[in-house]
Symmetry: C2
Subunit: 187 residues, 2 copies
DNA sequence: TCGATACTAGACAGACCTGTCTGGTAGCGT
DNA sequence: ACGCTACCAGACAGGTCTGTCTAGTATCGA
């Protein structure tokens, strides 16, 4: 994958689409709006993306790549601190002005069919998150890392939803306390 | 509110819309589809609902009323058992065949504007859930019922998302264990 | 110099969207 | 008998949707 040589027009489309999709939702943003905002001809758009759905899939995988890169840069030690830093970052991000919830969950909500490529891309991202949690927990010495990772995924999903729909300060406090209760005490 | 006398056509529209909206999303279902499936004339539809958005709002409040009625009927005692019964019910429901996530979260994902009437209806439902949790926790003797309720809301949101996107059996186990870790131990 | 690729502008098709409007029927309370 | 309300069928307007197509320009490697 990603064997293409770089294309400014394609990048502009993807960046613009990402901004609009996240802020307004997939179905609410038409191709015409995207190409107008990106300053790109329609033929160019359909040259790079066979269909709008393919653009959506590219949007999802691009967001996933961006998040992986961000986590990659967070090099706190030990693992327990890294885990808390990740949650702290999500809280900080969720409290920001333009926050509109989780791009993956919002997108999945607009794609009911679980077998749709877009949904598969979302599922892949979720698998990455869960495995990231599990690895950090295992490195931290949690003997039930698998189970705790599943719980942290629950917590993460609740977090991204809560920051979108509820009072950020309240959610922040709840997340902090929830982590205390969920993470096993150190020996 | 709800001072109208009953109307079969209106009920049929609301029931049909609810089914289609939940299964396919709001923006993916047009008014024409709804009235055709409900067997209702277009004029009748717009007689009962001033606009599609008003129908969506009615859909949200109807779902909320249905959930409240269901919880009302669950009369397990003591409060701790009732709380667990509610979560058990959500797990059972989430494992069912037609499950497509939480109607409120899916709807909110398609309405970015927090001030939109539809979003306000969603927010009201969430307030009810949180207060329900808080009251049950307080009755159960949790001194930090407010905070625990916030955490349970996080858990609930994670649950409804997880059952839609991940493996139900795994989520079920994670929810069970999470409750054990989150709920304060009995004296 | 040739040919492929990336891009531009914009018309067009065909479907679907919400919402309005016409015109007519049936029942019900007064 | 009258008027109100609920309902039916379906045409219509004006817009938006995705996707295709025509036609032409610019760049770059072989």
């Amino acid at each position: 994958m990603e064997g293409r040589r770089p294309s400014p027009a394609r990048d502009r489309v993807l960046e613009t689409a990402g901004r609009l999709f996240y802020a307004e939702g997939i179905h609410s943003v038409g191709v015409d709006r995207i190409i107008a905002a990106a300053g790109v001809a329609k033929a160019t758009f359909y040259h790079h993306f066979p269909s709008k759905d393919e653009l959506v899939r590219a949007y999802v995988t691009a967001q996933s790549a961006a998040q992986r890169a961000m986590v990659e840069e967070m090099r706190a030690e030990p693992s327990r601190d890294r885990l808390r830093a990740i949650f702290a970052f999500m809280c900080e991000f969720g409290s920001g002005p333009g926050y509109r919830g989780c791009a993956f969950l919002n997108t999945a909500a607009e794609y009911p069919d679980p077998a749709h490529p877009v949904r598969l891309a979302v599922a892949e991202h979720r698998r990455w998150i869960r495995d990231l949690f599990r690895d950090l927990l295992a490195a931290d010495g949690d003997p039930g890392a698998e189970r705790t990772a599943d719980i942290l995924l629950l917590l993460r999903d609740g977090l991204v939803v809560g920051f979108d729909l509820d009072d950020p300060a309240t959610v922040r406090g709840a997340v902090h306390e929830a982590l205390d209760r969920v993470l096993v005490r150190k020996a």
